[in-house]
């Protein structure tokens, strides 16, 4: 068996597509990919795990008589390429034998080129000692604070090199970098424990992002707040105004807007697992999703964000479009297979696979809440009794993305316009469109954060997707809050 390196990828792609073409497929593409990932994980002052992962392989996707077939292998050899290409054809033929409606791809211009996300310092070239020393120092400082009994600190970097070639003529090379880091302190006081986190956003930059983020400076605040959280009183159930910070909002947007705006869910493709969507196609352009303050923009062109990869796995360029305009539901995340079902003539370029081993599917774009005009202080000043929430905690939402419940990482009582003492066990509940109707203020662009996810689960077999959800602080009026404790 002859294993072939990156310099031969073009030849391997041609070999695969020749087999697909000669078999009579109407469409075929191949993704050849090499992914480097480094994960460093610290726990309780020690570096518990250092792992350097290399993941190489290819996937061949074909359309034959209107039905999909896909086969993939981590054996990148001249023997394996034809086997996998033929297998993809065999699979598509069997699917086609019972097809009721043929898949037809929305036309798209042919693109050829290279996408490289910028970085100043390659995280894989940074000496390991520098990275582990930073994590160890971070945990050491956390444990200097009274009450801190456990700590975690992590650093993650990923470089994704990929070639996408299609029978239509698309030829796209990718070199995509991303990094992230964060830490957590757990305090124990009077028999109660509580954790507080600090997370850098996942962004497509180099190690410079970690260098700019001063972990050590943040340790004191995080440790102190962990202890304060452990000693904080539980929230009283009731109706509160909420102010949510950008990191927290990233999850709220993801669950209550991002997933419902995936067209495949709305069409029932995820009914057996991730669920469907309350934003059904007849609502497009006719449904009030939120207040006039709410503008949710999908933007896969913003540099450094996770879904800004130049092109998706259909070979469609990344785009910017509206999901919700002044409260009105106006757009979906789509791909070439499904765009026409809602009358679109072109895909929004949201078809992505986790890796070479997975078939692409519609994924949430970089959907963000457009900035408003207020400052955070102004949002707080107009609240008599409310709660300010930072970070992620418990989250759960029904399979139509309608009924949700969120916690957070840290909570402060707002009294007469001022953030006062910490609370614990805050849980708020809502119905997605009703909740967004209660948004009456969004902070300006100076408050904007760009948090996102690399663990968004969807599909069977399961895949993870990556996306960023930029947001500024936002205020929501009269939200039901319950204490996160078991009823006696």
């Amino acid at each position: 068996m002859t294993m072939l390196k990156g310099s031969c990828w073009d030849e391997l792609a041609e070999l695969a597509l020749n087999h697909v073409r000669h078999a009579g497929a109407e469409y075929g593409d191949i993704r050849i990919q090499h992914i480097d990932t480094q994960i460093i994980r610290g726990e309780d002052r020690r570096i518990a795990n250092i792992q350097d992962v290399q993941d190489t392989g290819f996937g061949v996707r074909v359309l034959y008589n209107g039905a999909w077939g896909f086969a993939a292998s981590s054996i990148l050899s001249i023997e394996e390429i034809p086997r996998v290409a033929k297998l993809a054809i065999q699979i598509a033929k069997s699917s086609a034998s019972i097809i009721q409606s043929r898949v037809q791809l929305t036309p798209e211009p042919i693109y050829q080129g290279t996408v490289k996300t910028p970085w100043k310092r390659n995280p894989f070239d940074v000496p390991l000692e520098e990275k582990t020393a930073l994590l160890a120092s971070t945990m050491g400082l956390l444990h200097q604070h009274p009450g801190i009994v456990r700590s975690q600190a992590t650093m993650w970097a990923c470089r994704d090199r990929k070639l996408l070639v299609s029978m239509e003529g698309a030829h796209l090379s990718f070199d995509l970098m991303a990094v992230q880091g964060g830490f957590q302190a757990t305090a124990l006081s009077n028999g109660r424990f509580a954790s507080r986190e600090f997370n850098m956003p996942h962004l497509r930059t180099g190690y410079e992002l970690l260098a700019q983020t001063n972990f050590l400076k943040e340790t004191s605040r995080v440790a102190v707040q962990a202890l304060e959280k452990a000693n904080a009183p539980p929230v009283d159930a009731g109706i509160y105004d909420l102010v949510l910070d950008p990191e927290h909002l990233a999850l709220t947007i993801h669950e209550s807007c991002g997933h419902p705006s995936e067209l495949d869910r709305a069409l029932g493709y995820e009914a057996n697992y991730a669920g469907t969507s309350f934003l059904t196609p007849e609502k497009l352009g006719h449904f009030r999703y939120g207040s006039s303050q709410v503008n949710l923009i999908a933007d896969n062109t913003e540099p450094e964000t996770l879904a800004a990869t130049g092109f998706d796995d259909d070979g469609v360029p990344c785009q910017r479009w509206e999901i919700v305009r002044e409260g009105q539901f106006v757009g979906y995340c789509t791909n070439r297979e499904m765009a026409t079902t809602i009358g679109d003539t072109r895909s929004r370029g949201s078809n992505r696979a986790e890796s070479w081993a997975s078939v692409p599917m519609i994924r949430i774009a970089n959907i963000g809440l457009a900035p408003g005009k207020a400052t955070l202080d102004q949002l707080l000043s107009e609240i008599k009794r409310g709660i300010y929430i930072e970070g992620h905690g418990s989250y759960s939402i029904d399979h139509r993305r309608y009924n949700f419940q969120f916690g957070g990482d840290a909570f402060w009582l707002i009294e007469n316009g001022k953030r006062t003492r910490m609370l614990r066990d805050v849980i708020y509940q809502g119905i997605a469109p009703d909740f967004w109707h209660r948004c009456d203020g969004v902070a300006d662009v100076n408050h904007r954060g760009r948090f996102g996810f690399i663990t968004c689960g969807k599909g069977q077999p399961g895949q993870v997707g990556w996306m960023t959800h930029p947001a500024s602080h936002a205020r929501f009026r009269n939200i039901q809050v319950i204490p996160g404790q078991a009823r006696p």
Binding site: M3, R46, I47, N49, I50, Q51, D52, V53, Q54, T56, G57, W68, G69, F70, A71, A72, S73, S74, I75, Q90, S94, S95, I98, S101, L128, E129, T132, A133, T186, L188, F193, L267, G268, Y269, A271, N272, Y273, G275, A357, S358, V359, S394, S396, I397, D398, H399, R400, Y402, N403, Q405, D425, Q429, I431, G459, Q460, P461, G484, Q485, A486, R487
Partner: protein
């Protein structure tokens, strides 16, 4: 553990080939400690929605992980390429990182050679199911949905993985494992029914019978009523019980227990659930996904975790186990919750004995709300019904629950014998259906 792979496709890494790869690493390693983990995975899936195949895939993926230690310094590197050059390069990466790693006070050498149980991990009928076999089974489910005029969405998969663990201590373990899965959601405009199965043998999926079950529940769910949130008696089907139990078992790690940051702190050998119930690990059970060894090469064994309601075990990492003098680390990949046989009833008897309650098929999106008291939340899904005067009388809109299994499992008023259960929220369990008093639903979903 020894089990020979048949010599037809898929050509997975054999025991002899894994031994060769191990030898290649150990012979060239300069580390004081060296260990390897192989996962050679070949899987196929047919996914369908709206009674049509939407995804049909076949994937072969290898992962080979090398871990090297120099004293208390250690690091790992992995590759998907099993050629000799790539394996050597992976070893060099692991060694290079390990040399630069800081000392880890909890670093232990790899385990010594172990004795493993011979559990039934490999079923040839699953191994031999290829594209055609998966397609025909999926088509059977689709055809049932078409015939019954419901929209079916589901998946049929079969997979085989050769798994190996070895180390320079002489540790060596290898076994092939098969797994087949089927799940189906049958839908109409306002109702859905669901089923799921996972087994080492694809012949145990019972695709047609399960499809009819899901379709029947879907049809019974038409025109759901809305009830207010509050405390209700619930009859939980085994998948719903598995979801709650899974949420509880996730919090049993010993390190948190020792640091007193666990909901089970100070509860070892104390009552945590109804005294009639015990939880065992059953890797030997023919319907469970037992395996011979863990990723670290430790043996998987039968073990009692909860005995007559008393917590007897914690989930130990190797270092904490070493500190506590525990030589056989308990594992829990095949959990079986069983109530005393004399009180077991049938599901029908549980319903008949319920004056007013809610029948729950499954829970969805279960998440921890409070790590102190283990409060969980989640939604009911794919079949929620009202029970009145001992009969299922009406379909209901879905509820959100907000309760702790530590409280709920103390309020059990009836149960069946254990049955196979799996869901998106859990692995595979053997658990009974349970009737629980005063289970708290905090809100209702209007759709």
């Amino acid at each position: 553990v020894s089990s020979k792979l048949p010599q037809n496709w898929p050509l997975l890494t054999s025991r002899e080939e894994f031994a060769f790869l191990t030898h290649l690493v150990l012979r060239n390693s300069t580390g004081e400690h060296a260990s390897v983990l192989l996962q050679d995975h070949h899987a196929g899936a047919v996914r369908f929605a709206n009674n049509q195949i939407i995804q049909h895939v076949d994937t072969h993926k290898v992962r080979f992980l090398v871990t090297i230690g120099f004293g208390r310094k250690h690091a790992s590197a992995s590759t998907t390429d099993l050629t000799a050059g790539a394996v050597r390069e992976t070893l060099q990466r692991a060694e290079s990182l390990a040399r630069m790693a800081p000392e880890d006070p909890e670093c232990l050498p790899p385990p010594a050679p172990q004795h493993y149980g011979l559990w039934p991990t490999f079923r040839p009928e699953t191994f031999e199911t290829g594209v055609s076999g998966r397609f025909h089974l999926a088509r059977e489910a689709i055809e049932q949905c078409q015939t019954q005029k419901v929209q079916g969405a589901g998946i049929l998969t079969s997979a085989v993985t050769s798994v190996g663990v070895a180390a320079n201590t002489g540790l060596f373990a290898y076994e092939p494992r098969t797994e087949a899965r089927f799940s189906l959601t049958a839908q109409t405009d306002d109702a859905s029914g669901w089923t799921a199965a996972v087994h080492r043998s694809i012949e145990k999926l019972n695709v047609v019978n399960r499809s009819l079950l899901a379709i029947g529940n879907c049809k019974r769910g038409k025109g759901p009523r809305e009830l207010p949130p509050g405390k209700y008696t619930v009859v939980l089907q085994p998948p719903a019980v598995a979801g709650l139990l899974h949420g509880m078992l996730n919090s049993l790690d010993a390190k948190s227990y020792e640091a007193r940051t666990s909901p089970f702190s100070a509860k070892l050998h104390q009552a945590i659930i109804d005294h009639r119930f015990s939880l065992h690990n059953r890797p030997d059970h023919p319907d469970m996904l037992g395996c011979g060894f863990t990723r670290e090469g430790l043996p998987v064994t039968r073990m009692t975790w909860i005995e007559n309601g008393l917590l007897r075990q914690l989930a130990y990492d190797r270092y904490t186990a070493y500190q506590k003098g525990i030589s056989l680390i308990p594992t829990l990949e095949s959990p079986c919750l069983e109530g005393e046989p004399r009180d077991q009833r049938t599901l029908e008897q549980l319903i008949q004995g319920t004056e007013r309650g809610i029948f729950v098929t499954n829970f969805w999106y279960i998440r921890a709300v409070n790590q102190m008291d283990l409060t969980l939340t989640g939604m009911t899904r794919d079949g929620t019904f009202l029970i009145e005067n001992g009969k299922v009388t009406a379909p209901l809109r879905n509820f959100r629950f907000h309760d702790s299994p530590l409280r709920a499992f103390q309020n059990i008023s009836g149960y069946t014998e254990p049955q196979e259960a799996t869901s998106a929220e859990s692995g595979k369990f053997l658990v009974p259906a349970l009737r629980i008093q005063d289970f708290y639903f905090s809100s209702v979903s209007a759709c």
